[in-house]
Subunit: 233 residues, 2 copies
């Protein structure tokens, strides 16, 4: 397990309990061939780490984007926290060098199969679970911001997320060959406390209305309702 010292150096993190670190990299297949390992596999740590990643990303989005509506934040979070993205981050962190696998799974690893990508994404979550137990939430937050949330600007700029508005546009283009448009139908209230009703249209026809305390929120609500009305959700 000496190689894990290199990982700690690379990540600038020292575990008090090294077993937690080792365990977080142990896939269930490894135990089968190495019953002397003496530690459990990483699935319980993954269960814990998954919830830590979720909260850290959620808290970041909540605080960093105080004006953004929940539906959009949810779609940004989904674009960050999914096994494809987590596998990519784990690869960047060189986790593949450390993962403990059976000989059979190692062959998959060389071919970077889907099953391998899932294993390495799960190891990322398990590592965060171990880090949470050993070093606490704040250390996890910093780690997750540095290595995962760094992808967010790219996601937002290139619209690599799937919120109600983009879903409605995509399906509308596919099924109706038309890009939907939005129009403010009503707005009222003083500047600091405005309220909006927007309509979403396909061609001349209004499909749904949405309300909200920003233009963006009202459009998002309209798209959500439109998806439901047309049974496209």
């Amino acid at each position: 397990m000496n190689k894990f010292l290199d990982l700690e150096k690379e990540l600038e993190i020292v575990f008090k309990d090294k077993n937690l670190l080792f365990q977080s990299f142990c896939h269930r297949s490894y135990l089968n061939e190495n019953p002397q390992f003496g530690l459990f596999h990483n699935e319980r740590l993954e269960f814990l780490g998954d919830a830590v990643v979720e909260l850290a990303v959620t808290e970041y989005l909540y605080k960093k984007y105080p004006k953004q509506v929940e539906g959009v934040l949810t779609s940004w979070r989904a674009a960050l926290v999914n096994s494809k993205m987590l596998a990519q981050i784990a690869e960047e962190l060189n986790f593949g060098e450390y993962i403990l696998l059976s000989r059979g799974e190692k062959k998959d690893a060389q071919q970077k199969t889907k099953s391998y990508r899932e294993i390495i994404a799960n190891a990322f979550e398990a590592f965060i679970g171990a880090l949470y137990l050993d070093r606490g939430y704040k250390t996890c937050q910093k780690f997750i911001e540095k290595y995962l949330i760094k992808e967010l600007p790219h996601i937002i700029e290139n619209k690599l997320f799937n919120d109600a508005k983009s879903r409605f546009q995509e399906i509308s283009q596919e099924k109706r060959k038309v890009t939907p448009t939005y129009k403010i139908l009503k707005e009222w209230g003083p500047d600091h406390n405005k309220y909006f009703i927007s309509g979403v249209f396909i061609g001349e026809k209004i499909i749904a209305k949405g309300q909200g305390s920003s233009k963006q929120e009202s459009e998002h609500e309209a798209a959500k309702t439109a998806l439901k009305k047309l049974k496209w959700d």
Copy 2:
């Protein structure tokens, strides 16, 4: 907003920032009729609180049941964290008295419709979001243990969860009119480091095998594989 003093007293929690508390009870419909309210609705707080509840329950299960496999803990968590259960807890906490709704939604509230149950479950999550921002994670943990996790013994005793073994049993009884059975096919290793292979059978026929470092884990894995093999998942 004076009535919220009663809620703080009942819950023995005092918010530093009362606006967070008020906001967590504000449904989007209320703003529509009360534009002078001056606060946003509770959906962003719900987005945050949902992740806090998830972590608090996950951490509790992880620590309290060190021998339990991830698949079972996941099914226990799902039985605790869902809108039906959260609505029930919110009702017990009398949140219905405090929720800020439009006149239309209030009618629903009297009839305890599904939409109302969702509103009140969401308010529970939003309240936790507000509590997290105002009082931190530890306070949320205590609150969630006291009011939500208290349901866990009842769930476990009465098997009100839906893990792979119970799903396989249910579908097998429905489709094949037979209760599946489990058999240990192989076990090896010293007492402190045992390894098991179990088989799950419908009648005399073996459907799938599963491995694990406890009998229970190997059975759970066998059921998971069986669900996949028979395309019952």
